[in-house]
Symmetry: C2
Subunit: 363 residues, 2 copies
């Protein structure tokens, strides 16, 4: 006896549920079988490309909701399993890398790409990049972080990510943070996070190009790219291979940092990548004991630097031991400081003002 | 009338005076002519390869002293001029780059080479490298600094060096700081210090190899090499092309910095370069108002990191706004802090313990 719900109705309802990583509905992907209906209880098996799929919960939730929306369905039970390799082949018949890249390019839709750059290391560029992603996520955006710092990656640690990213049949999927930010970094792929990546430029460039073109990012409102210090291979590859809507420059009050950030600005100008503005980090520290405002790295030169570069100074951020602590503990997503919230809003506004059509990964 | 001093005596006396940059005496180099002696007053012309020669004062002083040591010489007057190009050719008949490199290698004698590395940027590696050089110089050593950070060079600014280094017929000579430290950096060669050096790896490596093998360093007790962040081309080239007596690792209390410094340590181990120890920089800040000890980047993890790496923790350095200020003002040589003095002594002691014969630049 079949209650009032037909199997065909269930099938139709599930045709409205997409695998966000693959960009197609779960019925046409062959992910659903064994549909049964018994007295309003709907049971089916959902075959995922990998059980480590970071989007598993989302697909499951959407599938359950779609079925429960049917009149007469009062309960849904889903049995999960992993696809067999011949099933996967049915979806992606080709092993050819170029074919896969094209397929990935078809799926990836990144509305805005934003690189965070400083030229000089240690000015807190990665924590600014991380907090930018956190604030955009808090504002409801679909956000990714591409860690382009191959030899000194710090993004995964800040988000408490230590597991290798899942690999689907199309390619690597980003790791997903607690709040749902998608992250790719070389450190997720190392057997040990202390491992050194002793690579010359072409390998560095190759890794960044793969992170952009061969990772199944899916649909993103914003991709934040964390650049390493310097104006050599990594920065060049990012500026030449990823269509950027803007570069956010991060500096510190030290005149030395200012000099190196001006080098970064010149590089962006030469490569015709738009700058969205300047952030001064580590501007001052408030003594937790007496409240004294201490200019650890000397008096601010941010306005002067911004003027020289013809940029807006978007924020002056204090040195906050709490942020350092949370980054070390993998809890950057728990850090709150309204200055980052307004920074994220201003950066997105400026990046959106840049003339650009939705960007697709290179095929 | 010739007084009691013979021209031949003057000539012999000057044969004892070397051009330290060229390693030969000024008579056989053809640098002296027009010797005259009149009533105890000795006059001659000294022809230098370049009037911008940083060793000019030293040669002049030695020449005067050598002549005044002659009995009967009561005054010396030296007329300086620059050698004509045919005179220079007489000294170095070849324009062939390989010949020049061999000649430079013959002259350069570097007793100890020490690289300062952190993996992560902004932990104050360059200021540690600079202060190491300053303290060694204060201890009477002949010291050079090779700035291997091609895309983010900060050494010249710290020492207040802004002029291009002099070029002699054999090749480039280092710039010389107020206290006599010899410095080579890409920033000395740029028309404008803000200029970006947008180079891929092979150019970066080529520049470092030239700084080592084609610069006329002369005789040095110690050469300090300031490495950029990362474990890519620059670090690889330094470790593979410069025979290092040791690498000093610099970290900060952040666990993130610790992770990246462990990568640097692994790289050194893989390339069989000896590590001399670990320095923790930015360990704490003393509030100038209330004296509170503020752990800006969280509690120290230096002992733990040193233990994990099997290294000695050679120093824990405070964050000192005064050091940042002096580095920005080009006055790092005026900074004093006894902690650097003992650090320099310990580092040299360890680097000297490493089995090594005097090192010559690669021909």
């Amino acid at each position: 006896m079949n209650g009032s719900v037909e199997i065909s109705q269930v099938r139709e309802a599930l045709r409205g549920v997409k695998d966000p990583g693959l960009g197609r509905d779960i019925i046409s992907l062959g992910m659903v079988d064994d549909i049964e209906v018994e007295e309003g209880v709907v049971r089916f098996t959902l075959a995922l490309t990998t059980l480590a799929c970071p989007l598993k919960d989302e697909i499951l939730k959407n599938a359950k909701e779609a079925v429960l929306a049917l009149e007469g369905a009062r309960q849904v039970e889903v049995n999960l399993r992993e696809m067999k390799s011949e099933e996967k082949k049915r979806i992606w018949p080709s092993d050819d890398r170029e074919e896969l890249r094209k397929e990935v390019a078809r799926l990836n839709r990144v509305e805005r790409t934003l690189a965070v750059m400083s030229g000089k290391g240690g000015v807190g560029k990665s924590s600014v990049a991380a907090m930018l992603a956190v604030e955009l996520r808090r504002a409801g955006k679909r956000v990714g972080v591409l860690d382009a710092d191959i030899t000194g990656p710090s993004i995964p640690k800040m988000f408490g990510l230590h597991e290798p990213p899942p690999v689907g049949p199309l390619g690597m999927l980003p790791a997903v943070t607690e709040s749902g930010i998608r992250v790719i970094s070389i450190n997720l792929l190392l057997p040990n996070e202390d491992e050194a990546v002793i690579w010359r430029g072409p390998l560095i460039s190759g890794a960044i190009q793969q992170f952009w073109g061969e990772v199944v990012w899916g649909e993103l409102d914003a991709l934040v790219v964390d650049l390493p210090p310097g104006t050599s291979d990594a920065a060049l590859t990012v500026m030449q291979s990823i269509p950027l809507n803007g570069v956010l420059l991060v500096t510190s009050p030290q005149d030395l940092a200012g000099m190196v950030v001006r080098k970064a600005a010149r590089m962006a100008a030469q490569l015709k990548v738009p700058l969205v503005g300047l952030v001064e980090n580590m501007s001052y520290l408030t003594c937790p004991q007496c409240g004294e405002r201490i200019e650890v790295f000397g008096p601010s030169r941010a306005m002067e630097t911004a003027d020289r570069l013809g940029l807006s100074l978007l924020a002056q951020l204090p040195l906050d031991p709490d942020l350092a602590r949370r980054c070390d503990a993998g809890q950057v997503e728990e850090y709150e400081n309204e200055v980052f919230q307004s920074l994220a809003a201003r950066v997105m506004e400026r990046a959106s003002a840049v003339k650009s059509t939705p960007i697709f990964a290179k095929g």
